[in-house]
Amino acid sequence: MKLRLSALTPQIALLPTWLIVVFAYVGTVIWSIRISFSSSRMLPEGDFVGLKSYERLFSTQRWVVSVENVAIFGVIFIVGALVLGFFLAVMLDQRIKAESLFRTIFLYPYAMSFVVTGLAWQWILNPSLGLQQMMHNFGWTSFTFDWLARGDRAIYLVAFAGIWQASGLVMAILLAGLRGIDEDLWKAAKIDGIPTWRVYLHIVIPLLGGMFATALVLLAAAVVKVYDLVVAMTGGGPGISTEVPAKFVIDYLFDRQNIALATSASTVMFLAVLFVLGPILYRQYIHNNGRAA
């Protein structure tokens, strides 16, 4: 009996985690999906109305705008952060004096909250007292930069603030990758007389594939979750021009009291992530990682 009990200890130790997994992860998702098929408004209803709330969702202007925005934000944010982060990492890899000072400067925004980032840029880009006014004061009175007040441009600024916050992360990941490259490879290339930029292009970038994938996964996860940056920087405005899906769900859950619509939106987000990130995650983490024992 004693023997059997001790054999179960690992399972018992994992019990809290099992409970969390079953209730907080799997259970909530199933429940959410279930609600999305009901006619619930303020309180959950037990009925079943099929895809009604999904039909309503995609005919809701605010949701369509949200999806468009997250796509624009995602592309600009990911490409921007990857490119800037890569150049920062490469430049820091050139045996720079005060490397750690530069690294500290590039990464500090990542330590702060998206709320802080959003508020800081909201102030700087403020059309009446920020950058634009400063240029006017310098005598450049024709300078206009009022994108934050323009419905068709504000989302680009949100992406820009995101890049400011997250490039350091890409830089840190890629720099670690660059430092992991076999030094002999650089020596061989030097003896072959290959110009540095060509070494990066033909040899280093292909070698950093895994690091780029890691950065991509982290950035992509941030895109789907983007909420606090928008809330702090624009509040979704002007109008609904910078709304994003994550904010749509929260607003409809807690302010607008339409939980069927909100959960159908969150289900769409869930499926999108499952199909896009699922395979990458599987390759990155699960596949082929049984420890050699």
């Binding site: 002999d184 020596k187 061989a188 003896i191 072959d192 040899i203 292909p206």
Partner: protein, 360 residues
């Protein structure tokens, strides 16, 4: 004839650490020089300095009569092979061989010719369209040597090229490198910590320690007449036996006395130049001792342990309360605890001054 590579007053310092101390070295045209030493002795640093991969603190590097101290590696007329192979991972073997030439603007036809020649010499024609990840360790190193060959240069540098291979492949590729040197006749500088590689490949071995060359000589000289205690202990496996004692004068000429034993030194190499020395060390290789079960003359010892190694056997004895090894035939018929007499081949023994470690 002009030397192929000259290292002159070379000094390399990393921070407060002197890695190479005022080194002078001349390597003849077509010579195979091995830099041998324990890790941290500066041998790889020296090779990298010759290649131009690290900045020297002082001194000059001259290759083929041209002072290349400030030249870029690609302009020094050298090629290099690395321990980790350092193949460009995303390119095929052919791509690895031709990439550098392409960058240097060599015409396509010429590249194809050189790649064909190198791959024929190394027998890697069948591997040319594979990527490094699809090659075995031995094949990778062949491709890496091929990448050095196509550069068509006079000086080849090898940085522990066989250290990542298993024992069998290592001995195969060792022979191959030796054959390559015979056929091409290029100057080769080869860094290793493996004394077998050094002894089999080298025309001359430079044994290094603490950034200085301890002895620079042909393999046989290094083995039979080590210049100092460090070289004597470093070269040879099993290691040389060291017996502390004194070189003294007797009626029959110089003798070596230790723990009540007297060994006549008449047969010692250059014994006529020998002076007395109260604190000396006699070095005898296990190969240069014979064991006699019932001889009258010789030094008394006792068998403690037998290590059979196939055709040969390493016998551990106790001599003057210290362990002593002798290499002998496997059929020696000795048993543990047996008292025996040892006879040293003094002609092939070495004597060192204990304080300075220098050969007497």
């Amino acid at each position: 004839m002009e030397p192929s590579v000259v290292v002159r007053d070379l000094h390399i310092r990393f921070g407060a650490l002197d890695v190479i101390r005022n080194m002078n070295l001349e390597i003849a045209e077509g010579e195979f020089l091995v830099l041998l030493g324990p890790s941290g002795c500066g041998k790889s640093t020296l090779l990298n300095a010759i290649a131009g991969l690290i900045t020297v603190t002082g001194g000059q590097v001259i290759i083929k009569g041209k002072n290349v101290t400030w030249e870029e590696p690609k302009d020094r007329g050298i090629a290099m092979v690395f321990q980790s192979y350092a193949l460009y991972p995303q390119m095929t073997a052919r791509g690895n061989l031709s990439f550098g030439l392409k960058m240097a603007g060599v015409p396509k036809a010429e590249i194809a010719k050189r790649v064909a020649r190198a791959s024929e010499i190394l027998q890697i024609e069948a591997l040319l369209d594979r990527k490094p990840s699809a090659l075995s360790g031995g094949q990778r190193q062949r491709v890496a040597i091929g990448r050095a060959l196509v550069r068509d240069v006079d000086v080849f540098l090898f940085d522990e090229p066989l250290s990542n291979l298993d024992a069998k492949l290592r001995s195969e590729l060792r022979v191959e490198i030796k054959r390559l040197h015979q056929n091409l006749g290029n100057t080769m500088i080869y860094v290793t910590h493996d004394q077998i590689e050094a002894l089999t490949l080298a025309d001359r071995i430079a044994i290094m320690k603490g950034g200085e060359i301890q002895q620079l000589a042909a393999p046989k000289t290094v083995f039979h007449r080590p210049a100092n205690l460090f070289v004597a202990g470093f070269i040879g496996s099993p290691a040389m036996n060291f017996i502390p004692g004194a070189v003294e004068e007797s009626e029959n000429g110089k003798v070596f006395r230790f723990a009540g034993n007297t060994v006549p030194l008449g047969a010692y190499e250059g014994s006529h130049r020998l002076t007395t020395c109260p604190d000396a060390i006699l070095g005898v290789r296990p190969e240069h001792v014979t064991i006699h079960a019932d001889a009258a003359d010789g030094i008394a010892a006792m068998v403690e342990l037998d290590e059979p190694m196939g055709s040969e056997s390493l016998v551990w004895l106790k001599l003057a309360d210290k362990p002593f090894t002798v290499k002998t035939t496997a059929e020696h018929g000795l048993h543990n605890g047996q008292p025996v007499k040892l006879v040293f081949d003094i002609h092939r023994a070495s004597l060192f001054d204990k304080a300075s470690g220098v050969r007497l």
